[in-house]
Amino acid sequence: MNTARKIRVLVAKPGLDGHDRGAKVVARALRDAGMEVVYTGLHQTPEQVVEAAIQEDVDMVGLSILSGAHLTIFPRICELLKENGAEDIMVMGGGIIPDDDMQELLANGHAQALFTPGTVTADIINWIHEAMKDRLS
């Protein structure tokens, strides 16, 4: 009877850059795709992001990073999720991330998907639906 199950996503801007246009565009697109999007605003520490993800019981965390700190922040967030027994929460991200770094993050499992500038929002939505298939059925 699980009729009201909705996909919940936390969109967060960890670190020091103040460019939240991309995060807002993605948040809006996910809203329009029928998801509940928790947006926590700028300058979040990894600890704040993980705590919010737990309290909000989200399925997925979306990180927007344009500062170049992705190789630090993604692993740190995964580590904190694990420490809190919340490694089932998926991590995706976007921003300015060089190809080599992208491969590294994906290979190490520090992100399940990464979307760089030029991505069509429909691709992100499709990826989320695909990733959530097992949980929703």
């Binding site: 009877m1 009201a4 199950r5 996910l30 809203r31 704040q48 309290q55």
Partner: protein, 319 residues
């Protein structure tokens, strides 16, 4: 699985508290089990409701209030409601932005909820989420409604103290004597009091209260605040506890809570009967037939309703 969730809630495990709220909100099969098993552990939290127009400063006031309540050593739960799209079912839940300073405080638990079709300023599961936080040992629970207009007053059904947030220059004095939201406040906050017109807004509320006379025993307090620099926040905090003392000493708190339980029972009965009836008539031939007969004016909806009811078996909703 549900036993683990229930045990987790009672042990204040944040993940399980969050999970319990989701299961209830999603109308999961374990909903009733969870709610009825945590119920004996509820009834200890004091519930504060904050309502007001979009952008009036509700979330910022909650943030300020979190600081003063924490200074007092109280553990606090927050339920912040934002609107769900009537078109897509999606929502942007952005109230946390103002409260992230408290995100790492283990004695603070903040949960955002979409209205999911509910129109009274709260979501359908807000009441149940309050019960979960109550059972998880929160001393105070703050409910922040969606940004409201004039008549979304559901908050008074669940809050012990209701705060209405206004801002300066919100219309002329006739606005203050209109029915609806202006009637539900135990405390009025005039936020953004650094803006021109704050004095006038405060005095218009005061005049409105004078007109009301002796209808209520409690005369709502009026507090001016500026969340940017924290002005008036201690006064707001004080006003809340004065109201709580009034409720406790006058016996009103018991009365209000008893009334709330009666309404909860009636709501539950209504819900059960409604779903039982719906199960039995949806897709039934009799229902179709009667609908057609009403269309052609052979019978009327009132007679048809009575006829359908005689055939309904209500035994099913009693278990």
């Amino acid at each position: 699985m549900y036993d683990k969730v229930i045990e987790g809630v009672l042990n204040k495990d944040r993940r399980m508290v969050a999970r319990a709220i989701s299961l209830i909100e999603n109308n999961d099969n374990g909903r009733t089990k969870i709610l009825s098993e945590i119920y004996p552990h509820t009834g200890n939290a004091y519930v504060i409701g904050i309502t007001g127009a979009p952008g009036a400063g509700k979330s910022s006031l909650v943030d300020c209030l979190l600081s003063t309540l924490r200074q007092q050593g109280l553990s606090v739960g927050v339920i912040a409601v934002d609107p769900t799209s009537p078109f897509t079912g999606g929502a942007i839940l952005g109230d946390r932005i103002r409260m992230q300073e408290h995100a790492l405080d283990k004695e603070v638990f903040i949960r955002s909820m979409g209205t999911r079709g509910s129109l009274g300023g709260l979501s359908r599961a807000t009441k149940e989420a309050v019960q979960v936080l109550d059972a998880a040992g929160k001393d105070v629970i703050i409910i922040e409604t969606v940004g409201v207009g004039q008549s979304e007053v559901d908050i008074i059904k669940y809050a012990d103290t209701t705060i209405v947030v206004l801002t300066p220059a919100g219309g002329d004095s006739v606005q203050t004597i209109k029915a609806g939201i202006m009637e539900i406040a135990d405390i009025f906050i005039v936020n953004k009091s650094d803006l021109p017109g704050a004095d006038r807004t405060a005095s218009e509320i005061s005049m409105m209260l004078d007109l009301g006379g002796s209808l209520r025993e409690w005369r709502p307090s009026i507090v001016r605040t500026i969340t940017l620099d924290g002005s008036g926040i201690t006064d707001m905090h004080k006003a809340i506890f004065e109201h709580r003392d009034f409720l406790e000493n006058s016996g009103h708190l018991q009365k209000v809570r008893k009334e709330r339980i009666r309404r909860d029972i009636i709501d539950l009965i209504e819900y059960r009967i409604k779903s039982t009836v719906w199960e039995q008539i949806s897709g039934s031939e009799e229902f179709d037939l009667l609908t057609n007969q009403i269309m052609s004016r052979e019978t009327d909806p009132y007679t048809a309703a009575a006829q359908i009811l005689t055939g309904i078996n209500l035994d099913k909703c009693k278990v």
